[in-house]
């Protein structure tokens, strides 16, 4: 006990501190200078269910790009940082990526609170930000075009879920979801759709991370809904589904891709999850980009968010190749993204190697990635997204249609 005194502790702490200062420089000194892309994703904490596949997708994008010779002879490097499902930690991570690593873009950012927190850092430092968050407020910030959102907004997702619920023949809707930036918007949007169609819609916002939602489920069932919309993430949606099953609810259930997905289907018993529908923003059904990516990952299917992270890296690389500037920067990425993602005269490309080759030959391209056609409106929101309509069948996500 007495061997470890105050001096040892101070020396140790000082040593660790000074190493932290010098390591990144040691990195820079090695070999050719790679172009750095930051990835801020949840690897631990409440929103981390896709963290593993998101980081794997980012790494596959890097190897795809580098195998094709990189961008103008320079390799790409991604630096993956954990946002710990917490905006405070995410801000520190983003600051490190921007100031120390001088990344040209940051991709991945998933939870809306995290994206809202790091967005000002990105647009103030002229770093491009690619996000898979849905909250409408994100692209309303004064971002000068530095934010690109590859996920459909809350408004669009809510409308599609509501329309599908009506298509299924439902007339009385009840929404159950945790307090998130989009919960109230979902209730308003879907209820309005139901009222316009002569039905009725209500909602209840519950507390996140609880072990039981029996009270909330009872409250929902008292209104005799014929469809329940599940607005939560995987952990709470699993609990709600179990409680709905215990309460003997026989109506339809529909959720969003961040709540009802393969992770959920594997995590709860079949009889609990069976028949729950889900809408996943996606590329068209025969998207070769998607099929290639799941093949490389060795998985039968992949969530939309990991596909988006792959596209965040690819969009940055293609934009920089298109910009052909001597010193890659976030501004160069911002100015060139639309040229490679939505040029109507461009050749449709879903393979990054082919895209890089065409750009090198000075030919216009139009990149469609595994996450969708990737066309951005003036404010940075994605347009023309397809949705995969899926349903849990015996613990697997079965595809019903793409529209």
């Amino acid at each position: 006990m007495s061997k470890f005194d105050r001096r040892d502790f101070l020396v140790g702490a000082a040593g660790v501190g000074s190493l932290a200062t010098f390591w990144p420089r040691a990195l820079l000194a090695q070999g050719a200078q790679p172009i750095k892309i930051g990835i801020v994703i949840p690897l631990t904490g409440a929103t981390s269910q896709f963290g593993a596949t998101m980081s794997a997708a980012a790494k596959i994008a890097v190897s795809d790009i580098n195998a094709a010779g990189g961008v103008a002879g320079r390799p790409i490097e991604v630096l993956i940082e954990d946002d710990q499902s917490n905006p405070e930690a995410a801000v520190r991570a983003a600051r490190k990526l921007i100031d120390v690593d001088k990344v040209v873009s940051i991709g991945g950012s998933y939870a809306s609170a995290v994206t809202s927190a790091i967005a000002p850092l990105c647009y103030e430092s002229k770093t491009a930000l690619f996000t898979s968050s849905g909250a409408d407020s994100i692209t309303k910030t004064p971002h000068n075009g530095y934010i690109f959102r590859t996920s459909p907004t809350v408004t669009l997702q809510g409308t599609r879920v509501g329309q599908y619920a009506l298509e299924l023949g439902a007339r009385k809707m009840f929404f159950l979801g945790p307090q998130t930036p989009f919960a109230q918007s979902y209730i308003d949007i879907i209820s309005k759709l139901f009222k316009d169609a002569g039905g009725a819609g209500q909602g209840l916002i519950y507390e996140d991370k609880r072990a039981s939602y029996r009270t909330e489920v009872d409250q929902a069932l008292r209104t005799n809904p014929d469809i329940i919309v599940l607005g939560g993430y995987v952990p709470d949606t699993s609990v709600v589904l179990k409680d709905l099953y215990r309460a003997g609810f026989g109506g339809k259930k529909i959720g969003f891709s961040f709540g009802v997905n393969q992770v959920l289907a594997e995590g709860v018993p079949h009889e609990v999850s069976d028949g729950t529908a889900s809408l996943v923003p996606s590329a068209s059904e025969d998207s070769t980009a998607y099929k290639t990516l799941i093949g490389k990952m060795g998985r039968p299917a992949l969530d939309s968010y990991s596909c988006q992270v792959y596209d965040h890296v690819v969009l940055t690389a293609l934009a920089l190749a298109q910009a052909a500037v001597a010193s890659p920067s976030g501004t160069a990425v911002r100015d060139a993204v639309r040229a490679i993602s939505q040029d109507p005269k461009g050749e449709k490309v879903s393979d990054v190697a082919r895209g890089l080759k065409l750009i090198a030959d000075k030919k216009p391209i139009n990149y469609d990635g595994p996450s969708g056609p990737l066309e951005f409106a003036a404010n940075g929101d994605v347009e023309g997204v397809f949705f995969r309509y899926e349903q849990v069948q015996k613990g697997k996500m079965a595809l019903l249609k793409v529209a």
Partner: protein, 314 residues
Amino acid sequence: MTSYLLFIGTITAIYALLSLGLVVSWGQAGMVNLGLVGFFGLGAYCSALLTKLGAPIGLGWVAGAALSAVIGVGFCLLTRTLRGDYLAIVTLGFGEGLRLVELNERWLTGGSDGISGIRAPFKDALGELYPWFYFALAWTLVALVAWMLARVLGSPFGRALRAVRDDEKVAAVAGKNVLRLKCQAFGIGAALFGLAGGLYAHFTSYISPDNFVVQLTIYIFLAVTAGGYSRLIGAVFGSLAVMTILESSRFAAEFIPGLSAVQIASLREFAIAVALIVIMQLRPQGVFGLRNERAGSARADAAAPAAAIPAPSK
């Protein structure tokens, strides 16, 4: 690199303010406040909302600190019968309760959208110098607070607080108004948490209820435990140590081959837990241990005995 170090340095100063607040309420008066992140959020929201209405930022900070202090004293009065672990549990619940209010009172706080675009002091005027300015401002505040606390805790009031911490009954028998002392210490602590919240809100320009989760409370407890829970210098040192562990592990992780990103992230969280266990095993009193005070020391002699009216017994 410089701007990153300035950013982390400023956050460290905010951690140091939180740690100083915890030293007052926990280290000096013996009241564990696991709800410190709640007061931190209270100060942040108060300052952010007031400055949105056009109040100057300085006033926002003072108001944030004052509101936290008032709520802190009120809370202390409500929980006056609770001690030790029971108080700790209630403070934990209180902090979480404040977060839920922030989350659900959308008309005021914007719910989980949070508040963005919070004004920063002199940001446009200073330009490139702004990070230096805020860094200096934050650390000046830490120094000022530490100096003031050193004066306050060195006074008879401070000795009375420590007497309450060591044994409430003895302090009461010696004629100290225990409840009042506890409320004062808790209030000073809460005020510092609120002030730190105000500093944080105007520094990062965005706050949401997700910012104010228990994780930060754990970091601050680790900082105070590492530094020595009763010492002001320990609070500042502990904050530096915790931030060093948090941020240097980010760089160290890049040099561990063959691990996936998820494993690295989990290892970093693990490092914090291991650090706490190692400190508790090797040096439970922290780097700067408890100081023994002799009754006959020069300071004690100089101080006049406090009014000797016994507190009403329960």
